[in-house]
Symmetry: D3
Subunit: 178 residues, 6 copies
């Protein structure tokens, strides 16, 4: 059985890794699809697709899960009605979609796919928005991510990037910044 | 005389149908252009272009107006200055644009087209935003739409779709939904 | 030495012109790059790329700076990580980037370019957002822009355009406007 | 029963009109989809989508078939595997596809749609390539097209356009033309 | 050491598999990048990106190489000068590019990457063009591909697809086919 | 009077420079528009838009014509019917288009612009195709280009680039090259 796990993974955190482990109890293979792949250096999307792929693959390797996983990515499609078809054009055979998001569930179910929920792991802390906020303004974000993913974030200077993004879009008129 | 009626028609409601009837008093033919055609399964744009076209054509047929109308569509153009030219590349000959929106009026007037206002029909209720809100959370939306359009909305499970859209974008991190 | 000055120039105002003069004390040539070139007839982006280029070139000519400048433009790139590379594909040789925006500075510095800050000129008034607001609702905007740029704004009826944009997107349902 | 008739219609000729008549013996409605809609002013694609739509609608009106037809269009999709899904996003309900092209037949059949062949009408002359060639270099093309479509071609100066297209792409270096 | 192996893999054949084996003598990991990912159902590009990824991953698994490989894909970029940067945005860290194509070699070398040639394996037969031709018109193509890739081609009816593609583009006028 | 000179300028040669001089006898200013700006590292389009802009500006500066010229660029537009409008969105005010190409002339004339022919200068040799061929395979191309443009071609290793492009597209299967 092949499972499909879809997310933006901004960043890939412990909750995601625990979810993969949980899926692999049932599935022989998990395909991890990095969505909104084209966005980066934005407040909600700080990391590039390459950085996210590297966070995921290095965390899976460190956890001994790599040979049972595959990582792919998908840029956004303007027309949501065509989104599942774009997913399917990348991954011809999968049996099960994992998602807790109602719209994702609806889109896959309308296309005839089976969808299952994912149990939460340390939901209070393993939350993308929260981790990005800590990363951009405080400290302690490292504890919520796999060590291999932390290393990627540090190498690309993630916290500094989040701080510079927070000061406004790159086309702000010069007079609006000091 | 050929009139052009532009809108997003999310959904097509009684106000739109009354507007077409009113235009046909003056025009021999009305071309109905479905704008923002590429968006769907979004809070402001729940219905696909195909669903909107079907709502419109079936309502016009039921009202006996089909042979005097034509329905086309247009995806958004990033550059607003080129929007009227994109419209014109689809519809070579039209005499009159119907719109109550100041920017649409400006864009067509600057291109030399004649623009007229549309009288409102039951403005308080025949309002896209209001109908979408009722559809997603309560009941009674059917009374503001032509019966043939209601049928399309029901067949594609519009109210369920609006509820699932309201819970957040399909790329929300798994921990943010239950 | 060739300097690169990046902005949206919505509109080109006295602060921008003073900045160019200041850069030309150090640089032999300044390349002015009009960003977000594809947007126009929007609240934050009222002017077309052609209008902005004309504002800039006519102001530079009037100030006797034209032969030391070049004006180019760049549409937005979805993937911010690729933005500097798109800039570089237009302008093969430049020595120095002028910007006060942290994200722009980060993106250029990560690509190995030298970045310098721009001293503010009459910062309180020479501010794009403020000038657009005055232009759309009051009077007196002319004093903050070079005379040649003012002429372009007047010829294209900038204040009227800003007023019509302020009433909502061109796809607002007809019932929502009067 | 709703039939779908797909083509480029460069131009719409007698063979196409006869095909619609033949389909309407079996179908209650025929949806005519203008493909490759974005191309025009090219040797293989001389007419704009608007001109093609006008040729078709005016020919159908003259033949008294308009109330049983609907005309839509579709730009090309780079990924052929997604093409049928784009078609379906425009036309939610159709029962039968008419096409003599093996690839089109394969794509629709693989998606589960029923496909039927179209009998040829005056195949030797009612041929898009042949009619474009005559239009660009000789005379007599009018006899192979419905009168209403001929009128559109004449109004937009089709023969002159085909002659100017034949002399090379608009970016040929100046020295290559006289 | 991480190697990068780029190709269209239309289809993935024995020569490609032998190349990966040869690279893994030197590299700890090989990233296989499927180029021109958006094209399919065309004479030169019959297989979808999903089908190609499946051919590659199943062949690598059967050969016991999967844990040392990663498969990604990239749509074409119009501007060749930006192509390597798009590759790099997907794969942040690689040491070596494998390619026998002069333009690919030039583009990577100009960006500062090290490039090496690939020794040929049964060059006369392990050739994409030749295998596609046999697949579309004769028999015996199976012997040039890994068994797991053959299975994918058979499941998606590759030979039938190549035959139907060979009869012309999906927008050929109806009169041109029988 | 402002003249518009459109071309691909692959590369900018003596014929182009002579044409600008000739236009400036009549015009106060010439805007040089680099078309097909997105293509490069291709047989017909070897140079990037940045390289072409640099060839043109450095040649004009050396010839003392820079202050009377402006260089802009435009990516191709799929829909030729919209091409002149895209040009106009960049260059709001020009009086005269210079072109010897029938399709370009038709497109501008249909939009109401005045078009004039350009006298040829050493037509036999000042020909883009011919110069590219010499550059890729022989020698002596330098004599047909302004010295400043020659310098740009040499710095970016134009002849080597043309040789590597000539060996086939970057996605050729590895077995097809040696």
């Amino acid at each position: 059985m092949i499972g499909l796990f879809i997310g933006r993974f901004q960043p890939f955190h412990n909750g995601h890794l625990e979810a993969v482990k949980w899926m692999l109890k049932k599935c022989d293979e998990v395909i991890i699809l990095v969505g909104s792949s084209q966005f980066c250096y934005e407040k909600e999307n700080p990391f590039t697709v390459g950085e996210r792929i590297e966070m995921i693959t290095s965390s899976l390797k460190a956890a001994g899960l790599w040979q049972k996983c595959q990582v792919l990515f998908l840029p956004d499609v303007q027309n949501n009605a065509l989104w599942v078809v774009h997913v399917n054009s990348l991954i011809p055979n999968y049996d099960l979609v994992y998602s807790n998001n109602p719209l994702t569930r609806t889109l896959f179910e309308e296309s005839g796919k089976k969808v299952e929920s994912i149990p939460f792991h340390d939901r209070e802390n393993c939350d993308g928005t929260k981790i990005r906020n800590i990363m951009g303004s405080g400290r302690g974000w490292e504890r919520y991510m796999p060590a291999a993913a932390v290393e990627v974030v540090k190498r690309v200077k993630g916290p500094e990037r989040l701080k510079s993004i927070g000061k406004g879009d790159k086309f702000e008129d010069v007079e609006e910044e000091e």
